[in-house]
C-alpha cells in the first residue's frame, strides 16, 4: 500500500507579496514567512525549498523526523545560519539585515541543551534577561516557582530535565511576540510538560505567536492551530491539525445483513479491502464521505471507522520514498 498519498500539500500558502512586507507593525504583518528556503551544507541538502507562513496569534506546529531540517530552518530564521537560497521574513523584516532588532520580538528555546555550565540558573537567566529590553525579576521568580526550579544551583549540577526548565524559562522571561520553540519539552516530566503547554496557551491568549517544533504529537495536537510536516528538507503536508489528521489511515469494518458486496473496492481512498462473508474490512485514507455515500442504501448491520490518529498520519508522511531520500552522508550531518 503506497503512502505517497500523504505527501500532498493540504494547504500550502502562496509565497506572493514579499515586497510589500516592509512595515514592523506586529498586528498586521505575519510573524513569520518563509519562501523557497534552501540550506545546503556543501553537498548535503538540509533544507530543499520550504514555503510556509505563520499567522499572528496562532500556534504553528513544525514536525518531522530527525534530519528533516527543522532545526536548520529555525536557525535560518534566527540568523544563526545564512540561507543558501530563498527568503525569510520575521515581522516583515529580513533577519540577515535586522537580526538584533527582530530578536527583540522573538524568544527561542534551542533543541540542544547547551548552557553555560559554571553559572547558576539565576546567573544565566539574569544575564539573558538583561540583554532584553524588558526584564522583570519577579517574572523570573514566578516562573521558577511554577516549574519548581532551584535557581541557585549550578547548571552543571542540574538534571537534564531541570536544565530544560532553565531553557524554557529563558524564552518566557520576556513577553516576546514570537516564540520559536525547538523540541521544548524534551526531558520534561509529564507534569512539567503540562505546565509548559499551559504557559504556551497563556502566551497565545496574550496575543503571542508560537512556532513549535516537536516530536510529541499529542503536544502538537493539543495546542497547535496549524502545522507543517517536514521530511528530508521538504514540507510534505501543511494545514490545520484536522486536515493533516485526515491523511491518516483509518481502519474500516462494516458488517452487512447479507454477504458483503464486492463493489466497495472502487470507493476512492479505500485500500486493502477484504471480504469475509458478511464482514468487510479495509483501510480508508482521506475523507469518509465517499464511503458513506457508497454504503447508503446497503443492508448494513453495523459500521466501525476508527478515530483518525495523528500519529498514524505522521508515520505515513514520515516514511520516505525513493525520490526524496537523503544521501547516505547527509543523514548524520543534516540537523533535525
Amino acid at each position: 500500500m503506497g503512502r505517497k498519498r500523504g505527501r500532498a500539500q493540504v494547504a500550502c500558502e502562496p509565497a506572493a507579496g514579499w515586497s510589500t512586507l516592509e512595515t514592523v507593525n506586529t498586528a498586521t504583518v505575519e510573524p513569520l514567512r518563509i519562501a523557497g528556503l534552501v540550506k545546503d551544507y556543501g553537498r548535503v541538502h538540509a533544507v530543499r525549498g520550504i514555503d510556509l507562513e505563520v499567522r499572528a496569534g496562532e500556534v504553528f506546529g513544525f514536525v518531522g523526523p530527525n534530519g528533516a531540517g527543522k532545526s536548520t530552518t529555525i536557525r535560518c530564521v534566527l540568523d544563526l545560519l545564512h540561507p543558501t537560497a530563498g527568503e525569510v521574513r520575521v515581522f516583515g523584516r529580513d533577519p540577515q539585515l535586522e537580526g538584533a532588532s527582530i530578536r527583540e520580538q522573538v524568544a527561542y528555546i534551542p533543541g540542544e541543551l547547551r548552557l553555560p555550565e559554571r553559572l547558576t540558573g539565576r546567573q544565566f537567566l539574569t544575564s539573558i534577561g538583561r540583554l532584553r529590553r524588558r526584564f522583570d525579576r519577579s517574572r523570573l521568580e514566578e516562573l521558577a516557582a511554577r516549574f519548581k526550579l532551584d535557581l541557585d544551583r549550578n547548571i552543571r549540577n542540574l538534571s537534564s530535565g531541570n536544565r530544560r526548565k532553565v531553557s524554557v524559562l529563558s524564552a518566557f522571561l520576556s513577553d516576546a511576540d514570537l516564540l520559536i520553540l525547538d523540541e521544548p519539552t524534551s526531558g520534561l516530566d509529564p507534569l512539567m510538560q503540562h505546565e509548559f503547554l499551559q504557559l504556551v496557551r497563556e502566551r497565545k491568549a496574550a496575543g503571542a505567536t508560537v512556532f513549535l517544533s516537536s516530536h510529541i504529537l499529542s503536544e502538537v495536537q493539543s495546542v497547535a492551530d496549524r502545522l507543517a510536516v517536514l521530511r528530508a528538507g521538504r514540507i510534505v503536508a501543511q494545514g490545520t491539525v484536522n486536515e493533516v489528521r485526515g491523511l491518516a489511515r483509518q481502519r474500516v469494518e462494516v458488517w452487512f445483513e447479507t454477504d458483503a458486496p464486492a463493489g466497495l473496492v472502487q470507493v476512492p481512498g479505500l485500500g486493502e479491502p477484504q471480504v469475509d462473508g458478511r464482514r468487510f474490512t479495509a483501510v480508508l485514507t482521506g475523507p469518509a464521505r465517499p464511503l458513506i455515500d457508497a454504503l447508503a442504501g446497503m443492508p448494513i448491520d453495523s459500521i466501525l471507522i476508527e478515530e483518525p490518529d495523528l500519529e498514524e498520519a505522521f508515520l505515513g508522511l514520515y516514511e520516505a520514498s525513493d525520490d526524496d531520500e537523503l544521501p547516505d552522508d547527509a543523514r548524520g550531518e543534516a540537523r533535525s
Binding site: 536557525r75 544563526l80 545560519l81 532588532s101
Partner: protein
C-alpha cells in the same frame, strides 16, 4: 549600556577561573625564580659554565650576561617562559570564549538575544584582553616586589616595558586566535594555529640567526618585534608597541567581521 556591560560581564565571569589560574601560576613562577637569585649571585663558577656555551646558543636562548641581574631575568624568565606562557594563555583564553563556546553550542542562547553577533564577539574579546591585562599586572607587581626583596637593582623603566611587551605578545596571539575563531569557529584549529605561531615565532627569533641564510627572516616573528631589542637592558622603541598593537587590532577586526559573515557552528 546595560547590554554592552552584560556582553562583557558574562565572559569575564566565565574566564575568571582560567584567568586566575594563569595569573597565580605566573606569580609563583616569577617568585620562585627570583627567590633563587641571591644564591645564584653568590655562587662561583657561573662565568666558567657560560664560557663553555657557544656564543650562538647564548644569543639564541637569551643567556647573554647571565650573571648580571638583567641577564638572570632574561635567561630565566623573559627570553622564553613568560612571553611563551602569556602567548599560550592568550590563545587558550580566546579559544575558550569564542570557538569552544560556539562549537559546544553554549554561545547560541546569547546569539538568539536582541544583540548583534559583532557585539557578542567583541564582548568576549574584551573579556580576554581584560584577563591578559590582569595577568600582566600580577606579573609586574610580583616582579617589582621581588626585585625589592632580593635587590635585583633593575630599573623600573626597564621592567615595565618588558612586561608590557610580553603582555602585548600575548594579546597578539589572542588576536590570532580571535581571527581563526571568527573565521572557522573550530576550537581545534584555533588551538593549532595559535600554538604553532607561539612556538614557531620563538623558533624563528631564536634559531634563525644561527644561519646566515635565515637570519634576515628573523624579523618576521612577533617575538622579534617584542623582545629583540632586549628591553631589560635597552630603552624600548615606541614602534615595538605599535607593531604588536596594530596587527592585533586588525586581526580582531577581521575575525569579528568573518564571524558576522558566516554560519554559526553548533555542536
Amino acid at each position: 549600556m546595560r547590554r554592552a556591560w552584560e556582553l562583557v560581564a558574562v565572559p569575564l565571569r566565565a574566564a575568571r577561573r582560567a584567568g586566575t589560574v594563569w595569573g597565580i601560576s605566573l606569580v609563583i613562577l616569577i617568585g620562585l625564580t627570583i627567590a633563587f637569585y641571591p644564591s645564584f649571585r653568590d655562587s662561583s663558577g657561573i662565568e666558567d659554565i657560560m664560557a663553555d656555551i657557544p656564543q650562538p646558543l647564548i644569543d639564541a636562548f637569551g643567556l647573554a650576561d647571565f650573571n648580571s641581574p638583567a641577564g638572570f631575568l632574561r635567561g630565566n624568565l623573559y627570553a622564553v617562559l613568560v612571553p611563551l606562557l602569556l602567548a599560550v594563555a592568550g590563545v587558550l583564553l580566546m579559544n575558550g570564549q569564542t570557538a569552544t563556546d560556539e562549537d559546544s553550542g553554549r554561545m547560541e542562547p546569547y546569539l538568539a538575544q536582541p544583540v548583534t553577533r559583532v557585539s557578542i564577539f567583541l564582548g568576549r574579546v574584551a573579556a580576554v584582553l581584560f584577563w591578559l591585562l590582569v595577568i600582566g599586572l600580577l606579573v609586574l607587581a610580583t616582579q617589582l616586589v621581588a626585585d625589592e626583596l632580593v635587590d635585583l637593582e633593575i630599573a623600573t623603566d626597564r621592567i615595565v616595558p618588558t612586561v608590557i611587551l610580553c603582555v602585548l605578545l600575548g594579546v597578539l596571539h589572542a588576536a590570532v586566535a580571535a581571527l581563526v575563531a571568527g573565521w572557522t569557529g573550530r576550537p581545534g584549529l584555533v588551538l593549532g594555529v595559535g600554538m604553532a605561531l607561539a612556538v614557531g615565532g620563538y623558533v624563528v627569533m631564536a634559531l634563525f640567526p644561527l644561519s646566515d641564510v635565515l637570519e634576515p627572516w628573523r624579523n618576521v616573528s612577533p617575538w622579534a618585534w617584542a623582545l629583540a631589542g632586549d628591553p631589560l637592558v635597552n630603552e624600548t622603541e615606541a614602534w615595538r608597541y605599535l607593531a604588536l598593537i596594530g596587527p592585533a587590532a586588525l586581526l580582531i577586526a577581521a575575525g569579528t567581521w568573518l564571524f558576522r559573515m558566516r554560519d554559526v557552528q553548533a555542536g
